[in-house]
Amino acid sequence: MQRILNDPDNIVNESTAGFLRAHPDIVTTTANPRAIQSVFNHDDRVGVVTGGGSGHKPAFVGFCGENLCDAIAIGEICSSPTAQAFLDAFKAADRGKGVACLYGNYSGDNMNVKMAVRMAKKEGLTVKTVVCNDDAASAPPEEKNKRRGIAGEVIMYKIGGAAAATGADLDEVIRLAQKAVDQTRSIGIGLTPCTLPAVGHPNFEIKPGTMEVGVGPHGEPGMEVCELETAAQMAERMVNVIMGDDLPLEAGDEISLLVNGMGATPLNELYLLFDEAAKCLEEKGLKIYKSYVGNFLTSMDMMGASITVTKLDDELKPLLDMPCYGMGLKQR
């Protein structure tokens, strides 16, 4: 394993230390080493929190920042943060107007958030949650509660953070973040597995010459394994899954298109995939109002990419357009 490491069991502490040291203009510590908070104190806002396992940078700490999330709970590599970390993130984010916890649908995160919300309640803190389940490849529409959250989480944070920045109350922030999730569909294609530093060999297998359609960010099984395709074919395949899902997308609809790299795929190739996906979507009459291309929610050294389509309207557009400033998303 050719990686930059000291003790693989200590990587989360060390990289968190580096993150805090590098970005004092954006983030700072909390009492809990596994929770960080943004330096922007807006006393009149609902707090926005997320969290998840490590190894997905910029997610999740990169989405801590102005008009994004106010605090982040940090887990071990590919492992949910503790309930305590979520609780401490809630406390750091709370300004007396309640906390919106926006997170991804994984069983560990579900359990720990649930416990943290219960603990918060005992301490008199109101926390409401939105669970992102944008991965259209991870279960059929009838079983949406089984769907994973993938790069659509970025759109959820953006909308949720912007909603809080408008001064909206907790229920309104939750409604808008939930709306962002409901209007968002994603699908990824995995080209190589990733290697957990503490394990030292690939976590699962994707045979060279094949690709795994719908693979999850920890190697969760996808829809199918098929022969490696061209970028144009991959884009068409992904767009077809999204267009064939239960979110009505019709000619004339305005959308945002986000192409997310899984970590080790060269940026050149993400732009190439973006171009192909955009062409497919425009052929179907959709209008791309806003574009994001880059590494947002990665799986360490996995190769592959996902696309995320969000159907926009007059309520979501200004929220998506609002400036924000986090390490993983800067917009003006």
């Binding site: 305590q84 720990n112 699962f204």
Partner: protein
Amino acid sequence: MKFKNANGRPILLKMVEAVHENKQYLGDIDGLIGDGDHGMNMNKGFVTYGERLGDDETTFTEGLEDLGMVLLNEIGGSMGPIYGTIFMEMADAAMDEEDITLEKFGEMLQAGLDGLYGIVDARPGDKTIVDTLVPALETIQAASAEGKDFVTALDEMKDAAEKGMLSTKDMVAKYGRASRLGERSLGVQDAGSTSCCIILKAMADGMKSVME
């Protein structure tokens, strides 16, 4: 037969020791169809609890409560809430008791399982911890109903837990990382069911050592 709740220390220590001794083994099993960190995760939580306990005495229920809190607050992932909930619910079910009887222990295990079912969707046959915990619980309940003595019941529970653990070899994983493998997860024992078996056996041995 029963044991004093106040005599919790040796029981908890046995559990800590057992997990610590099996760190490598649990990691290896998890490595076959998971990511190989189960031993590390469990060891981290249990050893932290052991260090916090230090030379202190503890009741069995307090010990379970504290251990559960450590797991919940220190190891995260799925194991934190899963074992945290099991132990904390077990503790809750007998917190004010002076003595732990076989019947009471059955109630504790039932509470642990109920708590677990409140947070996971896995049920028997899904190749998880549940496949060890359920037969163990059923054996204790049956022994209690049949009026068997506590020690016999514990020995039977150890066998049942082991059988439950081994039965996961013939199952296809539906939850956790191993679910990725589908049919290919057949033939390999589940890591969580293994740690659960190791913990239940150590708990039983600890309880036997303070049995009155």
